[in-house]
């Protein structure tokens, strides 16, 4: 997008206002991605912080190829993945899954969508991290399997398998809900 290219050009010349505008533009998306992956708002905020500060350190040298939103989302996903693995508590067994905080109040007409979104988030939380990551990056952030494979360092086939198994698992969890 042209606006992003102009912002990056100005940012590279030391414009803090441009960095502010980039942050304001994508902050909610990035936080949403980190929360979806990590299931913990506090850690998600840390991830967004790391990514934006890391981006700021590129002043003067950042080269945008592709979408700025995609680049920042990839940084968030990489950071979240590292944190998830560092926190996996392998020395002492399985890691606990933490609850997402409640969101802000919503208008009445969003109530049904909010409820469905909440249900889906609860089900997504039950997936293994790697499956949740692929589903969120592909369906929420539009990343292609090839891009996800590149950033995670596994094959495209593996990414597609994780995606399929993740959706299968979601469907089977929904089966369980319907049978109740």
């Amino acid at each position: 997008m042209l606006e992003d290219r102009v912002l990056v050009w100005r940012f590279n010349r030391g414009s803090k206002e441009s960095l502010r505008r980039i942050y304001e533009k994508y902050k909610d998306d990035l936080l949403g991605l980190a929360v979806s992956l990590l299931r913990d708002r506090s850690t998600a905020e840390d991830v967004v912080h790391d990514v934006i500060v890391g981006f700021a350190q590129n002043v003067g040298t950042f080269r945008l190829s592709g979408s700025l939103k995609g680049y920042l989302a990839t940084c968030v996903a990489n950071n979240a993945r590292d944190r998830n693995r560092l926190k996996s508590g392998r020395d002492v067994g399985l890691a606990a899954i933490e609850e997402i905080e409640g969101g802000p109040d919503r208008p009445a007409q969003d109530a049904i969508q909010q409820e469905q979104s909440q249900r889906l988030e609860e089900l997504l939380a039950k997936l293994p991290y790697e499956q949740r990551e692929v589903i969120v990056l592909h369906l929420h952030y539009g990343m292609r399997f090839r891009q996800i494979a590149r950033s995670t360092g596994v094959s495209t086939n593996t990414i597609q398998s994780r995606y399929r198994y993740g959706l299968d698992k979601l469907r089977s969890l929904l089966d369980g809900e319907v049978e109740k």
Binding site: K16, D46, V48, Q57, V59, L86, G103, L139, K169
Partner: protein
């Protein structure tokens, strides 16, 4: 029903709405602007050096530059003399400054938030006596893990899971001693010098003329020299030393490159070890975890635990043991011997009933181990002592044989049991029969 049929479409449109807060925004922007300033100051200093070189190539400006230098000598003699009499810093001065210190307390701070805290105590002979490390401290001040080590005995407390694990483990002791050696100033300087002699690190020292600014000792670690227990990419530490006391006040930890999600030549400050005081008394009971954890905690003595696959033969390689452990794990699933599965998965006895119930609900039907691939070290540095063992297994789905490739499986050593290996497995959903 509707949700199930249109699941991909609905996941797309039901993207959660999350908003940042004012406090978070301010912190991120403040830190980002500070980062920009630091980078731009460095660039501006480098540009100054380049300009200097450019000037000197030009014969016309050389004469003018020489005149400036002469003027500087004439008018700056007093300043230069002051610099000449100031002693130059050497690492031995820090060694001397902290050689009689009995205790040290330091914290690891990331983005102005406490992440780790450590207390180190020596005995009268100068040997390490006790260490406590609170790790991955959250915003409420609750750590993910607390380790207390006393002369080879380790207690590991997980407050969120309410578990206290006890073990004696030589390799873990080596990790603790290495950690202390790296970050306790009394030991860190000797350690740095030893690494430099071996060629594992390069050390640079910058001593500002402004005595209010700290001396910076930069240590660049070559690959696989940063930790004893796992492979690591190149790292950097910058030790800040007070010019008056010669005591270490902080150590910055920097990482570089793709292994940390960065560009190849990009450095990132991970955090800072801050030294909060030398020989200030610790609070009572700080090394007594069993008193601290309270009653409602599951105490697990790892030394009496029967987990993992045991190897009587000492000559097997790590890779051979990893393959054997994975094979035993899947064989237990084929036989539906879930007690054995739990044992190989490192589940303590009192937790097995629940674990087995969980497996039974999953309706697993593994029928064959098709192949077990070549084990490889975990790609993430913090998990480097685990081996990933990719494999292919076959499950039966309503009479149809389906092969599944498994990547999320690794093998490691349970604490206190050097001859055993347990299997870490995260891909249960891949084995579920629908």
């Amino acid at each position: 029903m509707k949700l199930k049929r249109n699941i991909e479409k609905l996941i797309r449109i039901l993207k959660p709405r999350v908003n940042t807060g004012d406090e978070m925004d301010k912190m991120i922007l403040d830190d980002s602007f500070a980062a920009m300033n630091r980078v731009m100051q460095v660039k501006s200093a480098c540009i100054g050096m380049h300009i200097g070189r450019k000037i000197m190539r030009n014969p016309i400006t050389k004469l003018a530059a020489a005149a400036v230098v002469v003027a500087g000598v004439v008018f700056g003699v007093k300043v230069v003399m002051n610099d000449l009499v100031r002693p130059v810093y050497a690492l031995e001065q820090t060694l001397e400054a902290c050689k009689n210190k009995q205790q040290a307390h330091f914290t690891f701070v990331q983005k102005d938030e406490l992440n780790k805290a450590a207390w180190v105590e020596y005995d009268a002979d100068g040997n390490l006596a006790r260490v406590r490390v609170d790790m991955v401290i959250d915003s409420n001040g609750v750590p993910n893990q607390v380790i207390v080590w006393q002369k080879g005995h380790t207690q590991c407390w997980n407050p969120k899971r309410k578990e206290l694990r006890l073990f004696d483990d030589e390799q873990y002791t080596a990790i603790i001693l290495h950690f202390v050696r790296r970050y306790d100033p009394r030991r860190a300087v000797e350690y740095m010098q030893e690494l430099e002699r071996k060629g594992d690190v390069e050390i640079g020292i910058e001593q500002p003329s402004d005595r209010s600014k700290p001396i910076a000792v930069t240590v660049n670690y070559k690959p696989n020299t940063f930790r004893v227990d796992s492979a690591y990419p190149p790292m950097r530490e910058v030790m800040l030393v007070d010019q008056t006391t010669k005591l270490v006040t902080a150590v910055e930890v920097w990482g570089i490159g793709k292994d940390f999600g960065l560009k190849e030549d990009e450095w990132l400050l991970f955090g800072v070890y801050k030294y909060d005081g030398y020989d200030e008394p610790f609070e009572d009971g700080i090394f007594d975890l069993e008193a601290e954890v309270g009653e409602d905690v599951n105490i697990i003595d790892m030394m009496t635990l029967d987990v993992g696959l045991e190897f009587a033969e000492p000559n097997l390689t790590e890779e051979q043991m990893a393959v054997a452990a994975v094979r035993a794990f899947f064989e237990s699933l084929i036989a539906k011997d879930y007690n054995e599965t739990a044992r190989l998965n490192g589940v303590p006895g009192e937790m097995r009933a629940e674990f087995i119930k969980g497996l039974e609900k999953m309706n697993l039907n593994v029928v064959e181990i098709v192949s077990i691939g070549e084990p490889r070290p975990h790609s993430k540095p913090a998990l480097g002592r685990f081996l990933i063992v990719p494999c292919t297994i076959a499950i039966d789905i309503n009479g149809q044989r389906v092969e599944k490739g498994i990547e999320d499986i690794s093998v490691g050593r349970p604490m206190g049991h050097p001859n055993r290996r347990t299997v870490e497995f995260d891909a249960w959903s891949a084995l579920v029969v629908k």
